[in-house]
Subunit: 285 residues, 4 copies
């Protein structure tokens, strides 16, 4: 099980939320309270939007807690929107190209979860990826396949629709290969303006997903006063597990939901996979 | 352009040929005399046959010349047959799964060269890989695709035939995508008993390939006396570039040739790609 | 808190004890049951005696559980005596030269523990290191300083005596800098024939140390039958924490003890630091 | 032989000079025209001044040319003053703490060169480092020792004076250990406002050092028009070897010189080591 978080609001230094916040993502990576995955030491990544048309990406196979470059980068870089991820795997190799976020153009993508028994139908999924996107796949994770399927199904024009079609496609192909309940996931996706998130599992038991509803909830995370003061009223986070100790500061997103975060406004809607048959859009160019 | 070498003979310590030999592969990795590729610093790998049914593999993204683990491993490990590779790339990511040798079962595979404009038809090549082998592809190099195509076409039963069919398949698919002259390569392949090598390019201008013809040629490489003494009469090497200074110690393999080395005996035969149409064997299980 | 283990007996493949044994060192590295140090993901190392006059060393900054080279090396290499270590640090940088074992000539050294407040007197300890050994210090751990002090005080001629003088020296210098209880440690040391271990803390609360007393205790760790059968009657392990589930298979070494393991025979004697004043031997050349 | 460069001027993206400039430092790292050191593949580092009181630091053991994180970081980060370094070593271990720049407080330090036969007197040099700085030494290079000696001799208050005293101290200690001509170096040092550089060798044969004298010389390096336009009239570089092809754009700094660059103004003065005897300042706190 991986962990991830997304931030949207006024520009802040990455370190405020990655390192300074109490029980932060980096702390969690070393010592979780989860029985199943005690450690997220199999690499990490941060993608952030800065002053370029495309986001920056820093990914490493080291555990996040002992990487000095991450610490330095997080101390210097400011961003109004970033996604961070710490990885735990027993399957795909630990290599930078398997670390999240994945990036394509100005899009970033993080994933917690699994495609069950993907080894039975990975090839079939890969063939569904639009040919013009095929050579952009750089690693061997199920997560990256999800991303490129979503791109294939129109992520850049209709993010939540494309993710619904992606989920429907995966479930259909999995069923065709004898896997009844294939998807178990939370997703975080962004184009630099809006953050989209999805909580969904084929069996209705997806991993957790939360968001913060007021800037005060983030300010209470133990940030340095200067950092806390810089957070504007629209500052929000989406997290796979609550950070900090104030559990009631976080709103749990229900099973089978999609979330849209923009300018401090969070919108939660039902998420239902769309099976391949109906109204499939043309692959994006 | 990468570099590689293979050794077959009595068990020797890897360091004798990787480090102690004059102008060895490791030396070459830092400072070649080739104008095009001055450095092979994009990772390395060694695969060796020891006391197990499968070969050992040590691959790293560090330059071979500054990796202390490689030095130590090479000082301790003895093997009667090993392949080593130093990499230079401007294309595929530098990550362990892109380092040679590639391994499948008891087979090892190294490659120097390129599939030209593979980005136009990588997907088509991947689809040719036998479905039961598809999920074993771990990296993103053209080299590994060649290996898995060769496995698909029967490498384990008919090594040289499978490589001919692999080459024919690549050329046919490339031509179908508008690339007239796609292959440029030397290959080294082994099952732990025999070493097979191929020198071939679609345009007849393949990179170099050499072999040694007498144990004395290896003994003259500046090995420690103890190491030189341990080499039996059947000790041979196959190399992408001559090592040492005695250029005439090495026999150049002609263009479009296959080579078979076993028990000190080298057999060179013509190599001709076999187009997909005729007599294609069933994919191996 | 780090973890380590030592094996002495007939040559076995490293993987038998590092990977195959139930609740092995590698398993422990990812998920310990200790509250203080849930993870030992800050690098690892293995030192083994093979066919050379000096031991082999493989150290890496990656977590041991996700390093494929370690897995391969452990699958191929056999040794009658090896030491392995997984590291957890919040102090010294994670880099290969800070990974244990440390090696000097044919000696290997692993450490679990800490020199408290060493930042106050690290320079004074370094000055005690024999000048001819000074440039061999390669990292920045307190552990390596202990090793070079022990070498300075005659480790190669009188191992347990040298470690007693080393401990006395550290405690004296620490006290002179205002640190009353400075040492907290278990040590494992070997020359390839004998394994020496020490459990000692200035305050009498050293971390744990255990040894196995019968080959059957190791055979019961869930090894493959072939591996279990290869263990001779003299096979023994020394471990910082019990591996496997049979807690009573392991004999706890009392506080302030030294241990000597050779040819299956374990000898436990009291360990008392020797203050610098009395009978200090000449530094070794 | 290492290579380094420093930039001072209006904030620009690091990539403009590190990657986009023709025959840039990164290009040079892979393929130099120098016979002695064909490759600078033993790690790299960049230190830059941003919006914090201390500079950011990104160092890695990978060759600069194949590190994707460097490329991304350089694409996003802007700075008015940065130092970059690519390393070639046959001595000290390749590890992050041995990569330049070294940092202490708001100071950065890069070095090309060598202390000859330092193994004979490294301990004596270390003892000269101010005790309160001793534990801040993290690596094992001669370069870092030079930096901490300069800090000991007052770098923060009197940069060029401290470097003269540092050079005098090294030469005196070397001579006392039988090494007549010990120093061979160019240095680059900054506090974020001014860049200091030194070219000096005990035998008068120091490696090269250059600076640019007009913004047009940098604009002619093949930068993207947008980047070239952002360079203000005060943009200057100091380099260990000229970048680009316009050799006459670079002013060679004479042997035994110190250089001071601030707000586009370059001042070159003679550099003479100051022997330890005379007027040694108190070590800085």
């Amino acid at each position: 099980m991986c962990r991830w978080q997304a931030y949207s609001g006024r520009p802040i230094r990455l370190e405020a939320l990655l390192f300074d916040a109490k029980h932060s993502l980096i702390d969690q990576s070393m010592c979780s309270r989860s029985a199943e995955t005690p450690t997220n030491g199999d690499g990490f990544g941060v993608g952030w939007y800065g002053t370029r048309e495309f986001p920056g990406l820093f990914r490493s196979i080291r555990p996040a807690w002992n990487d000095f470059n991450l610490r330095d980068m997080a101390a210097q870089v400011e961003s109004p929107l970033f996604l961070a991820h710490v990885r735990a795997t027993s399957l795909a190799t630990v290599q930078e190209t398997n670390c999240h976020p994945f990036r394509h153009g100005n899009w970033l993508f993080v994933h917690n979860g699994e495609i069950f028994e993907i080894e039975k139908f990975r090839r079939a999924l890969m063939i569904e990826i639009a040919p013009e996107l095929f050579t952009s796949v750089q690693g061997t994770t199920d997560s990256e396949v999800l991303f490129f399927l979503a791109l294939t199904f129109g992520l850049e024009k209709d993010p939540l629709g494309a993710m619904a079609r992606m989920a429907g496609c995966v479930e259909a192909i999995a069923r065709a290969h004898g896997v009844a309940e294939s998807l178990w996931m939370t997703l975080g996706v962004s184009d630099g303006k809006t953050v989209y998130a999805v909580r969904y599992a084929s069996d209705g038991q997806a991993p957790t997903l939360y968001y913060s509803k007021r800037v005060e909830d983030l300010q209470a995370l133990g940030l340095a006063p200067e950092a806390a003061a810089r957070l504007g009223p629209e500052a929000r986070m989406i997290v796979s597990e609550p950070i900090g100790k104030l559990a009631d500061a976080w709103v749990a997103v229900p099973q089978a939901s999609a979330l849209r975060l923009s300018a401090g406004k969070v919108e939660v809607t039902p998420f239902r996979p769309v099976a391949p048959g109906a109204k499939r859009p043309q692959p994006v160019a």
